[in-house]
């Protein structure tokens, strides 16, 4: 029995459908991310779970109880808003204490729980400050402490890290994940950052135009995307258009321009148009030709610390290829190279595939 369950949830604003027939089951203690481009209905979904928006159709269950039309102040969920929504007229301590006051927790216990939860997010020394005197990261932690102190059955996070700079964001991702696992709180994170979704979640729901396109664990999502949309949105990839020439068990051979290559995929039929996804790190460059390789020329290269990203002109078009950094730049602009791949690195997706 799943802990949070959305059944065919739909939300329409006038004639515009923001969330379209979304179904999702989340286990207790699971960390699920809603990932998708701006405007795809992530926030709307989260707000329906929180009770801040009424679904047009469908049902929402929490721990076996139907909460579809329950008031937000009866649901007891913990929410971290994108703008943090801290109460500017209250100190850090008062902000965190608010939810407990609403629950009529008596003073002694309240103070103790506020202190403990501020310690959890390492803010105990700033308890008397007002939100305006805090940095972005500190505000984010106050918002988290305020949501966690009420010991909610479910924690809802709406792009909580999007206002932070890159370094702090990575630190907070790790901190948040560790804390979530310690507390074992069921968590739903909204994000449009695929790296964040990949690094933090047990499962990812990729959304597009109000629909759940694919629901899978991060590794599966990355390795076996079912549509071109997912493969392009989750991680970097090279997308090529091809035609199936021979269907094989668990895959097919396809022709892309003049080049024939074989890869893995489902739902393919002879003569059908396919999208071929080649991840930059699944490709390899060398100076000599081998079998299963095509020649090309380096047209640009950038250094990214732990790896290089090259842009190669080849018979397959312009491809991105990444090479691990081993201390010396392996190729320079204009160098002739050969691009290699293995069959497992080639992902085939039927064109215009239905979702899911």
């Amino acid at each position: 029995m799943s802990f949070v369950r959305l059944e065919n949830v739909t939300k329409r604003f006038d004639r515009f459908t923001a969330v379209d027939d979304l179904s999702l089951s989340i286990e207790k203690g699971e960390f699920v991310s809603l990932l998708g481009p701006s405007g795809c209905g992530k926030t709307t979904t989260l707000q329906m779970i929180a009770g801040l928006q009424d679904p047009t159709a469908g049902r929402i269950h929490l721990d076996g109880e139907d909460i579809t039309h329950k008031k937000p102040n009866q649901r007891g969920l913990g929410i971290v808003f994108q703008s943090y929504a801290l109460f500017p007229h209250m100190t850090v301590e008062e902000n965190v204490s608010f939810g407990l006051e609403m629950r009529r927790v008596d003073r002694g216990e309240r103070e103790q729980r506020v202190r403990r939860s501020l310690e959890q997010v390492q803010l105990d020394s700033l308890a008397k400050r007002y939100p305006k005197d805090l940095s972005g990261g500190q505000r984010q932690r106050v918002a988290l402490a305020r949501a966690l102190v009420i010991q909610p059955p479910v924690l809802l996070l709406d792009e909580p890290l999007s206002n932070l700079d890159a370094k702090l964001r990575e630190d907070m991702q790790l901190e948040l994940r560790v804390l979530q696992q310690q507390l074992g709180v069921t968590t739903i994170l909204v994000t449009h950052d695929q790296a964040e979704a990949l690094s933090m979640s047990d499962r990812i729901v990729v959304m597009n135009e109000g629909r759940a396109v694919q629901i899978d664990a991060p590794l599966t999502m990355y390795e076996r995307p079912e549509t071109a949309f997912v493969s392009n949105f989750v991680g970097k990839t090279n997308l090529l258009q091809g035609v199936v020439t021979a269907v094989e068990e668990d895959g097919a051979t396809v022709r892309v321009g003049e080049q024939s290559l074989s890869g893995e995929g489902r739902g393919l039929s002879d003569g059908a148009a396919v999208t071929v996804s080649l991840r930059p790190e699944k490709l390899r460059l060398s100076a000599q030709a081998e079998d299963q390789s095509i020649p090309g020329q380096v047209s640009a290269g950038i250094f990214l610390g732990n790896h290089w990203l090259y842009q190669i002109d080849s018979a397959l078009g312009t491809l991105l290829v990444s090479e691990a950094n081993r201390g010396t730049p392996p190729f320079a602009r204009g160098d002739p190279v050969h691009i290699h791949w293995v069959r497992e690195g080639v992902r085939l997706m039927p064109e215009g595939a239905p979702r899911g």
Binding site: N73, F81, S83, A85, F87, P88, H89, M102, K132
Partner: protein, 289 residues
């Protein structure tokens, strides 16, 4: 340097014409009023003696008649301020939550009266408040009162008319602070278990308090020095400071006493406003930028 001293002094030179105009139009009359208030008036000849005496001030501070008038003025000002806050703050909040086109429409309805002269609006109230006015007739028709009543020349009537005139200032001021309010703080409070009422009381109200306080300041200052409305609704029977000063000037022709009354009103107003402002700033500087 050729062009008017160092570059740092240029702004002063550039604003000099404005300053001169300002000084002439405000400073000079203010100064002559101040001087005038120390002169004395000879009732026998009706002439103004240019002696220099604090007699007028002593009279104001000792005569219980003036105590009554000043007491009434500031009492009315406080009451009007309070009522404006009670009406204006919810009004602004509801307005801010409306959707367009209703929002723009109602904003216009609220601010529209500011475009009409205070005198015209007050004369309108005089029609409504009289013993044959709509209020009296209406109450009689509903059977709430049996004999006609008139709210003309009463404090109640004056307060009603002043509130009507001044409530837009409160709405504007609260409106401005509502623009800064993060709507999500209300959602946050709600999801933390607060009832709608608690959200208003503990989250919305404290955040719009600066707006209410600065609105109060405007309303208080304008009420305390209001002239048109009190003179039409209150007339001679129910004088306030401004109408008293006016009468000293124009009926009694005791200009020095009138000037002294005006000066006391000004000083009292300035003291009330600055001390209030200081108190508010001390309280909110910590919280809001």
């Amino acid at each position: 340097m050729a062009e008017g001293g160092s570059p740092g002094s240029r702004p002063y030179w550039l604003s000099a014409p404005g300053l001169v105009l300002f000084a002439t139009l405000l400073g000079v009359p203010l100064f002559t009023t101040l001087m005038l208030s120390f002169y004395s008036f000879d009732y026998a000849t009706g002439g103004i003696q240019t002696d220099f005496t604090p007699a007028n001030y002593l009279e104001i501070f000792q005569d219980s008649y003036f105590h009554l008038i000043f007491g009434r003025t500031f009492g009315v000002a406080l009451l009007v301020t309070l009522i404006c806050a009670l009406i204006g703050a919810p009004e602004a909040y509801i307005l801010a939550r409306m959707r367009n086109p209703w929002k723009s429409l109602f904003l216009l309805v609220i601010l529209g009266p500011l475009l009409i002269s205070v005198i015209v609006r007050t004369l309108g109230w005089a029609l409504l408040l009289g013993s044959k006015g709509a209020i009296s007739e209406g109450l009689q028709m509903l059977g709430i009162i049996s004999d006609p009543i008139s709210l003309m020349f009463t404090t109640t009537g004056m307060v009603i008319a002043l509130v009507h005139v001044l409530v837009p200032f409160m709405v504007l001021s609260v409106w401005a602070s509502l623009q800064k309010l993060d709507l999500q703080t209300e959602d946050a409070a709600l999801t933390l278990g607060a009832s709608r009422f608690t959200v208003l009381r503990r989250v919305v109200l404290p955040q719009i308090m600066p707006g209410i306080l600065s609105g109060s300041l405007i309303v208080f200052a304008l009420t305390a020095s209001a002239f048109a409305t009190p003179s039409i609704i209150g007339g001679r029977r129910l004088k306030v400071v401004a109408t008293t000063a006016y009468d000293e000037y124009l009926s009694t022709l005791n200009w020095p006493l009138g000037a002294a009354i005006a000066v006391v009103l000004l000083v009292a107003n300035v003291i009330a406003i600055t001390s209030y402002n200081r108190m508010v700033e001390r309280r909110y500087a910590k919280i809001f930028e």
